[in-house]
Symmetry: C2
Subunit: 320 residues, 2 copies
Amino acid sequence: MAVYTEVGDEELEAFVAEYDLGPVLSCKGIAEGVENTNYLIHTSTGSYILTLYEKRVAEADLPFFLGLIEHLADNGILCPTPVHGKDGKALRRLCGRPAAIVTFLDGMWPRRIRTEHCAGLGTALARLHVAGQDFAMTRPNALTVDSWRPLLEASIPRAGEVQQGLSEILEKELGYLEENWPAGLPSGICHADLFPDNVFFIGDKLSGLIDFYFACNDFFAYDLAICLNAWCFERDRSFNVTKARAMLSSYRQVRPFSDAELVALPLLARGCALRFLLTRLYDWLNTPTGALVKPKDPLEYLTILQFHQAVAGPGAYGLE
Amino acid sequence: MAVYTEVGDEELEAFVAEYDLGPVLSCKGIAEGVENTNYLIHTSTGSYILTLYEKRVAEADLPFFLGLIEHLADNGILCPTPVHGKDGKALRRLCGRPAAIVTFLDGMWPRRIRTEHCAGLGTALARLHVAGQDFAMTRPNALTVDSWRPLLEASIPRAGEVQQGLSEILEKELGYLEENWPAGLPSGICHADLFPDNVFFIGDKLSGLIDFYFACNDFFAYDLAICLNAWCFERDRSFNVTKARAMLSSYRQVRPFSDAELVALPLLARGCALRFLLTRLYDWLNTPTGALVKPKDPLEYLTILQFHQAVAGPGAYGLE
């Protein structure tokens, strides 16, 4: 939620002149995305987002991310499309950073989630999974089960500062997940970070998915588990089964899931709860006080983890 | 440069429904203005700025500020115009704060000032002064000569931390200005904060003036002195007489100034240098480390003050 790199008017004009977008009419730094610097620009041909990629995004991954959203947009997914310059390139440099212009998407992310939002999300996620199937590039998930132990070890010495006994809970859960993590489930392109602030709606209608900077190849059901956790728990951390059912059944209408995926869902949901718990815990313990970006509460994901630990089977998510 | 108040999508939709602007299509918090929270919103009828007034703007002054920009816009000045709700009101409340929607202005503020910018600014400032003459409301300048002593006294004990001997320099200058401050110069509506980041251009053409939250009634020549200081000194703090001449002569073509104004200009320029030196010094000494908004260097204005102290007369500004 910050502008990390200031772009001057002359640098911007020279940069935009590399594209067929007409002259720049305005440029506002926007408070969106915690990883990059984003400007909303108006040119004579419309509105666009200019992104400068800051350190947290690996430059080597950018061709994958930009290629992916272009592929998805070409296949009917509502997501930003990279704009190519007159030289054909979508990725160039500005102010010493990799930078790209993408199309602007109307819509606002929902602060108060309603069941209709979850239904729309389920449909959009399934379409994304289907549309990604013929995308040629791949990127492994850098934040799946194999990567959790080093993350846990980095936080264990101070986990007790957040909650007493937390490190023992995490240690035990991680051991269980490492032993029981499934293999061979249907997999492909996942968004892997589809939280409400990355999904735009106009009224109840989904108008766009953004922020593909965690996208990777992994189990489709794992992506679904991320959404289940991010969209179906209320502010008081209770689980809303109506929302889950709406999301999962809308998903299933577009891309049916196998019995193996269904059975794995509670375990994957535990895994994804642990993944966000661990990254948030790390950020919580390592963000300097007074930093521009306030770290998110890791314990929100402990409640979610414990919910899934107690679940008897996928029926708890409202599925027959 | 920050979003201080988060507005939810539903609150925003309800708020915008009070206007005839059509449904909201998007809303982005923008990094603009240090005093207020600003959102750039798109609706089906166009682009607008939604401002939530934070503590630093006195609520009692808002009818003056909004009335003024409406009057100026009606009189051909390129500035935002308040949008009236269906109930006729331009000022209402959102998230517990006073809030207003104004029209969006295209353009970007110039990071590297060119002589053409200064010429455009001179013309625009003179037009503003003329257009303000039949505006019925008034607001005294809260940051003119009478208010400088309390500001100085608040900073004197620690001024030496910024530069040795600074408090003596300021004390002496303030005494001189209090004794010699002119009376009876042509006066009226002044912007009083027309720094480059409040002036938009598209190419070399001025496209808008923004941020009228210091506007007040004062000497026109004082407003001109503020611009002289803000636009005609280079980054190395040298004075660019070509820019000054361009600004002042463009101004004079729209609103000729009297001999009394011309003669007073060096003294007013000293006064306005002291005014920004004092407010910046106060902020410098009183901003907590790690604050969101970085305070500006007060000493920039010491150099400017010393330049005007050494000036023999208004001829130094390139005027015949």
